[in-house]
Amino acid sequence: MTTHPSRAVIARYADRDADLDEVTMWSLELHLEECADCRGVLAGSTADDTRALLDRIATGLDAGIAAGPAPAPVSAAGRRRMVWSLVPWLVMTVAVLACAVALQALWPSLPSLVSLLAPVAPLPGVAIAWSRRHDPAWELIAGAPAAGLAMLLRRTAGVLAVVVPALALASSRTGSSLAVALLPCLAFTAATIALGGFVGVRRAAIGLGAVWVLAVALPAMVTARLPVVLQPASSAAWALIALVLAGLVFVRADDFRRLTSHH
């Protein structure tokens, strides 16, 4: 790229009514993206109405900047704060599991509370990990559209890194099957993310949690029998569901580009 496009071509590009052929337009736009000098030439060849429009945008921008937050801190600090806002939720999750273990020890006749809690245990953490209200980094994500899914997955992995060992420990203390504790947990996490692409992660977590509690956990407490979906025999089905949903997340990865718009 040693030669620059002629001023006449740039002026025609700046004039919206002027027709520019396809090939010229393509190479011109590619060039302008890389060449600050030619962008300067373009700025010099704009018409009055363009400048008026730019002034109007600048005025609106002033108002927006005055109303909104200052530039978000560079991501490391933002991430640290994010991690701290997760800590209370993770502590709560672990505490609830510990209570379940204690209750189990006191009343062994109850259906396994740990198994009943396992699917919903990671949901609060996952929901908080991607909530605009709790996330000082959401503007950063808005500025980097492709980062949505990768970032959500990293945070989810962080949540699981705490919840899964806690669950494993809890289920080994109560003697319930490890597979029916961990597989539903993973399946629900995947389901939350997959559904989150459509309705927002937080709403997905609340919805799935409510469905589980109402449809499975409460009836199990009332009848005092472990529901069939949590019998060891159904672990293969849970594994399959988790895999399918994880696959779906990757297929629909695009949805997460705009995740911030429906927190």
């Binding site: 052929d21 396809e22 010229t24 700025a43 530039p71 808005a142």
Partner: protein, 183 residues
């Protein structure tokens, strides 16, 4: 920090914006906004929509400059700006699509450059140019959105108002034609 604002390149301006330097941001706006506005106007005929997209884009730049600065050295500030603006434009089209009024700019009928434009640098090779020329207009539209503007299939389908499957088949046709031109 105040010195050499006019000597700083755009990447430097973004980094200073990330530190909360409003003057660097204003300088960035002054330098890049005519280009970005022109490019958006070549894709959307409604000035109100373009103005909204511009405003949202630069607001995101102001607030998220740190994510560019944090992303180390890869990529130009202009390319980053365009990525943000392009996604905001698709958002605007998505909102508009519900009201059935999508004011996209039609592509020009002329494909080959006029003689006086031949001096352009970085010209696409002759064979490629020929191949582009022979592509149906619909396929060229898809190619422009996906190759030049970096849109995904879904975004392209929103922008052009055609189903995703149509975008895919047009892209396939364009790819085959361009591959043949290159071989």
């Amino acid at each position: 920090m105040k010195r050499n604002l006019s000597a700083a390149d755009e990447e430097e301006l973004v980094r200073r914006t990330a530190a909360g330097d409003r003057r660097a941001f204003d300088e960035l706006y002054r330098r890049t906004s005519p280009w970005l506005l022109t490019r958006l106007r070549r894709r959307c005929a409604d000035d109100d929509v373009v103005a909204d997209v511009m405003q949202e884009t630069y607001l995101a730049v102001w607030r998220a400059a740190g994510s560019f600065a944090g992303a180390a050295t890869s990529g130009s500030a202009a390319g980053w700006l365009w990525t943000i603006a392009a996604h905001r434009l698709v958002d605007a089209f998505r909102r508009r699509a519900r009201h059935n009024q999508v004011p996209a700019v039609q592509m020009s009928e002329a494909v080959a450059p006029a003689a006086e434009d031949e001096v352009l640098a970085g010209r696409v090779g002759q064979e490629l140019e020929q191949a582009l020329l022979e592509l149906p207009r619909e396929a060229r539209e898809v190619l422009r959105a996906m190759v030049l503007d970096g849109f995904s299939v879904r975004e392209t389908s929103l922008l052009l108002g055609v189903p995703e499957s149509t975008v895919k088949s047009r892209a396939r046709r364009a790819r085959v034609a361009l591959r043949e031109a290159l071989s």
